[in-house]
Symmetry: C2
Subunit: 158 residues, 2 copies
Amino acid sequence: MKIKSELPLALRTAYLALHRQSDSQFAPHGLTADQFVLLAALSRGQALTQRELARRMPSDPSTVRAMLVLLERHGLVQRDTHPTDSRARTVALTAAGKRKFRQLWTAGEPIRAKMVGSLQHDEAETLVRLLIKVAESLNAVSVPLDSETSNQTQEVES
Amino acid sequence: MKIKSELPLALRTAYLALHRQSDSQFAPHGLTADQFVLLAALSRGQALTQRELARRMPSDPSTVRAMLVLLERHGLVQRDTHPTDSRARTVALTAAGKRKFRQLWTAGEPIRAKMVGSLQHDEAETLVRLLIKVAESLNAVSVPLDSETSNQTQEVES
DNA sequence: AAATACTCGTGCGTATACGCACGGTAAATT
DNA sequence: AATTTACCGTGCGTATACGCACGAGTATTT
């Protein structure tokens, strides 16, 4: 099955192309593509904990922390201690952060238009649906390390 | 158009899921997901220059160089000076490199099976086709910084 | 042949991506 | 209440990803 072996590279190629284009488009604004993803996640759910933010990116908690340190230094986000859980910290956009995010949203529009523009309307929907499906199947369970265990695939989730 | 704004995140999510799974699957073998991509590219075209190799990954020449330094140290690849162009260097898998690649190919099979397994047969083909389409449209020409260009990029609000 | 333009690899700096381990705190168990 | 367990953020180490600039070599033009 050729398709099976081509899918990973196709996915990689498309993602890296998106990432590069975004980086170059956002660079004049002083931000990276990933920082934009973080700001976007924050703009839709204020007062998130760092872990919850990481889950939504999705990204690693320790990566998110490094990004937050930078963004906080630039005055785009603010971190406060969680009201009830003293371990956690809540993260929120500052006024400057919200402004910057709107700026980048506009700056990124040509890229989004380009991606979707080459597709039929239903193709775009199909693509998103299949990508989500693939991501879910990958995140589902752990791949058995070698042999055996056949199909013990359990479904968590509902 | 909601789809347009969801596509980038869906693409990111799927790719990172693949990358994480691959990394964890290859870790016992002492290699990373990206190193596997490099070995795969080499296994299908020997005696590539570093730039050509980078083009096929696809990746950045300076990134590829760093990876080659590591892989060469591990004895998986070999770099020689190009026969006719003294600026360039040709890269090839060593015997150990070929062996390692076959090992990883097998180790990665469950991941590929998982990705494709959640899809209908025609869906997998569609997905690959659409990913390639998106990547091409992103790589084609640079996005104008602000002017219009009028082709067919219509403005759509979020 | 000489000057110019282009290309290859390298080195450097910054930002991600992630695993792992540690200290502190909350939640669950006894 | 005391203990165990689970979870949050942090710090550290390694590997990518990419831009940029430099030196050396090749190709093109004059």
